[in-house]
Amino acid sequence: MTTRAQGAGTETAVTETAVIETRALTKRYPGPVTALDELTVAVAPGIAGLVGANGAGKSTLIKILLGLLEPTSGRAMVLGHDCQLHGERIRTLIGYMPEHDCLPPDVTATEFVTHLGRMSGLPATAAKERAAESLRHVGLHEERYRQVGTYSTGMKQRVKLAQALVGDPRLLLLDEPTNGLDPAGRAEMLDLIFRIGTEFGISIVVASHLLGEIERICDHLVVIDAGRLLRADTITSFTEVRRVLLVEVEEGATPLADELARRGLDPRPYQRALLVPLAGDATYDVVRDAVADLRLPLGRLEQRRHSLEELFHDGGEPAVATTEVRDAG
């Protein structure tokens, strides 16, 4: 399955412009643990969300893309380069922000990002300039002369993003960039990523277990579970599928469900209410008539989205990030 990204008509077209492409990519660890299982996916330029529960294989995929891990079988391409053959070349084109803390506490952000700019292959002067610019882009100004150890979590995440940006990458791989942030910090980080993806002309892959969060900023989504592809598509097609109507009656939910089913809808119980796929305005009419005919006390009628859990249970496929999605929502 490939992403049906904007403007890409055929599968070939997607393949040619894909920033990331894998074919039957498999990684098994001794154990035996299968981290990636025949994963075939193509990711178009733009901002892509790589979604999966913890342990779904996101980090393994990122490490293979960086050329740090050898796949057991299959192929992975980044920006048209084979990960196993041209890892070094790929790493000059990618900026990587790891999930975990990776900052020494006793250097200033400027020193640290400058040094990593040098490590990205920038000459000394250019590294200094670009470090200052990267830190400015992520919103660190005077603080950048302070030691990283004195920073808040939000500022540390920004430094991690700045070091990924310093080498002027063509593609950013961000692993759980909102990790450890409070809701306001998350929103700021997501806005920042969105700005980088849309204004800086850099493609971004954001790995996250929180779909509710990253869907706001992504053009397309790749959902993996247990190392296999669940679905890859544009964000709009995800959203279409997910439009549902929540109907809550104070009593008589079961008869209402039967009635709605009789009228051609597909209601499913959700907590004490019912969820009905929303096809259009006609759905509202059907629900209204059914409730009126049964003389039930209608408590709530609102349009909302499926939770991701329900979305992927539709096809009888395993759940992704069930609790986390609710938390984020």
């Binding site: 740090l68 070094e88 040098r118 292959g121 920038l122």
Partner: protein
């Protein structure tokens, strides 16, 4: 293009209605079109960075205290010798051994404190993924660190030797005396290079096993001091007359004449005495801390290579693993 808009709007306006703070121009994102260095040049940059941090350069003043003190300590004998020679006395410090116990103590402290500075910090704060997601290959990192620390140890050992040389030739009479000193210096520098190569390898290998700096320093210091002390104990035990009294002789009646094999091999335990064994095997005439290795000289050569190879293997394995984590 948002970048152009912001640029045209100037300060203040670019910040969406916020009051202008000073003159901050949001120029938007600029691509980098300049030179990109290759892998070897990046490794060279890491080498320089590591060499500087070996002496606390680029860090706070506190980080420089210890390197400065140990370096000054290492230079002291050269100064003392220069004064002694200037007063017409004989040289009191020799190029081959310098002042052996001082060198052991100073280098142990320097390596124990500075080797963790080079490797434990990055391990502790998990910076390695950031290096390995850049063009450097996995073994480039330990290679650059090892090269840098070897040069740092060379500076610690060879510069005092050069001072010793300068202090001596100032008072030397005639060209032949200067030439003689130069030949001695060359030998001393060679020995110093062996010291630097081996101590840097052992220091980094032990330091990279622990991400905690204090443990890393402890491991290096304990290893160097313990083996050094052990070598001396075994040396004196192996040379005890009772241990080698011939049958029939009353205990205590025997005085040790010959150096025993045990004594000749005792030095194999400590890197410092291994280094001195190699020096004497290669023709160093100045008496060392222990008896000359005699016909076991080659064993010291082998031991030197074994220690070096083992240390470098530990380093390589450590970082091959670290990259895949």
């Amino acid at each position: 293009m948002p970048a152009d808009d912001a640029y045209a709007a100037g300060p203040g306006a670019g910040l969406a209605g916020q009051p202008a703070r000073g003159v901050i121009y949001d120029r938007g994102y600029r691509r980098y079109g300049g030179v990109r260095l290759g892998r070897l040049q990046i490794a060279l940059a890491l080498f320089w960075h590591s060499l500087r941090s070996s002496f606390g350069i680029g860090r706070g003043a506190k980080a420089k205290i210890l390197p400065v003190i140990t370096f000054a300590g290492m230079c002291l004998p050269a100064v003392v010798n220069a004064v002694a020679v200037a007063r017409g006395g004989a040289p009191v410090v020799f190029y081959g051994t310098y002042t052996f116990p001082l060198r052991v103590v100073a280098m142990t402290i320097f390596v124990a404190v500075q080797a963790p500075e080079l490797v434990s910090r990055d391990l502790r704060s998990h910076v390695l993924p950031l290096y390995f997601s850049r063009p450097l290959r996995r073994l480039d990192y330990p290679a650059a660190k090892y090269a840098a620390f070897t040069v740092a140890c060379l500076i610690m050992i060879e510069i005092p030797l050069l001072l010793l040389y300068l202090g001596t030739i100032v008072s030397a009479k005639g060209n032949s005396a200067v030439w003689y000193q130069t030949r001695l210096l060359a030998g001393g520098l060679g020995v110093g290079a062996l010291w630097a190569v081996l101590l840097a390898a052992i220091g980094l290998a032990l330091a990279c096993l622990s991400a905690k700096r204090a443990y890393a320093t402890g491991a290096v210091a304990i290893f160097f001091f313990l083996t050094w002390t052990l070598a001396q104990i075994i040396y004196s035990v192996a040379g005890h007359p009772l241990a080698h009294a011939a049958p029939g002789h009353p205990p205590g009646a025997v005085t040790v004449q010959a150096v025993t094999s045990g004594q000749r091999l005792a030095g194999l335990i400590s890197p410092f005495t291994v280094l001195d064994g190699v020096r004497q095997w290669l023709g160093g005439k100045v008496p060392g801390p222990m008896s000359p290795p005699g016909h076991y000289g080659a064993v010291y050569g082998v031991m030197f290579l074994v220690l070096l190879a083992a240390s470098l293997t530990v380093l390589a394995v450590r970082y091959r693993k670290a990259g895949a984590e």
